[in-house]
Structure formats: C-alpha cells, structure tokens
Symmetry: C2
Subunit: 207 residues, 2 copies
C-alpha cells in the first residue's frame, strides 16, 4: 500500500475481529515502525505497553469507560510519554554515538540543553504528548499498510490505567491505541473540513 | 512509495534546496493529507500557517533561534492546535451530518461532551498538542511519499511566532515544520533504541 493510500484510507475503528489475534512478533514490528517517528533531540521519549491478554484487556476496558474495542482488538497499546525524557538521553543517543553520527560531546551537550528546556513542567508535558502522538500516528499508518485497523482513544481514566498496569510515575498516558483486524460495522472515513478552512498563507490573521 | 518505506526512510532534514519552491497548490495538497489524521470527536482542531514569502520566512527565522532551515525550506508550516476546538465542533462535524454519517443530535451531543472534557485547561492543551502532532506526522509522511524532506522543530519562541504571524490567542503553536526538496548534507537516519527497550507486554512494571 502506498503511503498516500494509507493516509487516505485509514479510519478510526471501533469494531474489531475477536477471532484474529496478532503474534508478539507482529506487535513488536508495529512498535519498530512507531519508533521511526521523530522526537526532539532524538530523545525517543515514548514507551508502549501492549495489552494482549484477555484478563489484562478486561482490566483496561474497566478504566476506559467500558469501551468494548479495548477488549475486542488483538492488542491495545498504552502509548506513554516520558515526562523526564531528557534524563535518558545519553542512553537514547548512545546508538548515534556508536554509529559515528554524533560525538559523545554532542550527546552531552544536547542532554544539557534538554535538561534546561524541560525543567519547566509544562514543556515536559507538551513534549511527552507530542512525541507519543507522533509515534502513535506512525504506528497507525504502519498498521493500515499491513491491512490492520486502529482506533485511537482518549476516553480513559489515566490514574486507573497507571494503577492497573503499574505504569511508573514518570510516564504520561498519551492515548490508547487498539489495533487488530477490522470487523464489519465500522464508520466509513469521516469527511474533513476543506483545506481552505484550516490553512492560511504567511499570516494567521482571521483564522 | 509504500507507507512502510516512507516511515523507514524519512529523516529530519536541516538542509533544503533553496532553488526549488513549491506551488500554493502543492502546499495545499500537503495539508489535505495532514487533515486525514484522526482527532478526538473528529473536531479537527488543527490549523496551519504556511510561511512561503521570503520576507515572512526571515521574520520566522528571527523568532526561531535563527535556524537557517526556516529560511531555506520552500515552506515552513506553523502547526497550530486550537485550545477551544470544542467551540467549533458543530462546524467541524457539519460535513459528517450532511453526509448522513451522524445526526445533528449526535453532533450536538458530542459537542456537549467535548465542552465538559475540555473545560479543564490542561486537557484542552493536551488535545491541541496531540491533534497538531498527529496531523504533523501525517504531513511529514505525505511529504516523504512525494519525494520531499521535512524537519520538525520545537526550537522557537511561541510568543514571537504569535506576534509576527498574527496568530489568534486561541491557538497554540505545536511545532514548526519546514518542508521542501532536500539539499546535500543532511543527517542520515538516526538509529533508534531497539523495540525491546521501549515495549512491555501487559504491564508497565520496570519500564
């Protein structure tokens, strides 16, 4: 499937085929695509909990306003953003240092810059949401390319998700992302506002 | 280009060919792909200011720590998230009502639910960042599919951007996104942490 077809044909699914699980290998492969997204300083401050076991899905459903898709999808990813991503930049950048793309001195300097930028809690939270969302969008399009459906959700209780899935305090749940084979009965693609309504050239006046 | 190739080959570019502009039609087409991203309640709370004129690019560069790519890229999108997206849901959902996908009553009910959810400023800001990021990622992959490079940036002065580009108060600048033809000298793709480092199954313990 071409990238442009994947973008045009993706829908947000609510109905998943409960008879078609995904293997751990398939779930891991989706994450391998997700992490190709960009992140500030390449800090890769996203994390993923793949909820696949029946019992775990039921617990996730209970803290997601009982939305059935969480239980029906082959996997629901809890997409997390690290509120302290800068602390782990040396680790995130180590492969770039090893590959000779940047020096250890660059890695140290970037980490210092990031520590300054993200000292403000609001900046850190914005970055967690931004990075988690960029990765989630990439995952959704990779899923579409593999013939899978996805249904991003923000309707859940973040504290309940943290508690039920032992999410460390440093991570913000950015969204939930059920992925699996579609069942019949999903919405068709929902129409969008025309580009003219959301785009201006060289000034935001009148937006 | 297949979707998976676009995801795997995309890089964050700093060097753009200054001799290859994009037409307004091409810029608009990129936005038409961007808005295929999902948003909560299909509220489409993203907006785009396409900075294309030489004089405007220089003003944007001045409030972006003088990063040259802003001036060199054919277009730099100021990607905005509407902090009051729910107020415009009736307008955003009108095409879905017209197409018979949802009723006017659904549209009214969703708008009411959203007004409740986004009354909290932090929820509204998270949603602005999330929607803007989902759209930006889609735009980057559409650009890659069209043989264009992009280089997402968070290094800018949001107040300066607002002032210089007359961005109404209701919008949050989520990121800047230079897009154009690549020039030589860009980074190769930067390596990522292996999936095993960022993915857990059924529990976030130990992440």
């Amino acid at each position: 499937m071409t990238a442009l077809e994947a973008i045009r044909s993706r829908i947000s699914a609510n109905k998943f085929d409960t008879g078609k699980p995904l293997s751990q290998h398939e779930v891991r492969e989706l994450v391998e695509y997700a992490v190709e997204a960009p992140s500030s300083f390449n800090q890769q401050n996203w994390r993923f909990v793949a909820v696949t076991r029946k019992e775990a899905k039921e617990r996730l459903k209970a803290v997601s306003f009982n939305q059935q898709k969480v239980a029906d999808a082959a996997v629901t990813f809890i997409v997390l953003g690290d509120l302290k991503g800068y602390e782990r930049m040396p680790e995130a950048l180590a492969p770039s240092v090893k590959a000779g793309l940047i020096t250890q001195k660059d890695s140290d300097a970037w980490t210092g810059m990031a520590a300054g930028m993200y000292a403000e809690a609001r900046m850190a939270r914005d970055e967690a949401v931004r990075s988690g969302s960029l990765a989630a969008m990439t995952l959704m399009l990779a899923a579409a390319a593999k013939g899978l459906a996805s249904g991003p959700m923000i309707g859940f209780d973040p504290d309940g998700v943290r508690r039920e899935f032992k999410i460390p305090e440093r991570y913000l749940p950015v969204l939930l992302l059920p992925v699996g084979h579609a069942a019949p009965g999903n919405w068709p693609r929902k129409p969008r506002l025309p580009a003219g309504d959301v785009l201006r050239f060289d000034s935001g006046e009148g937006l």
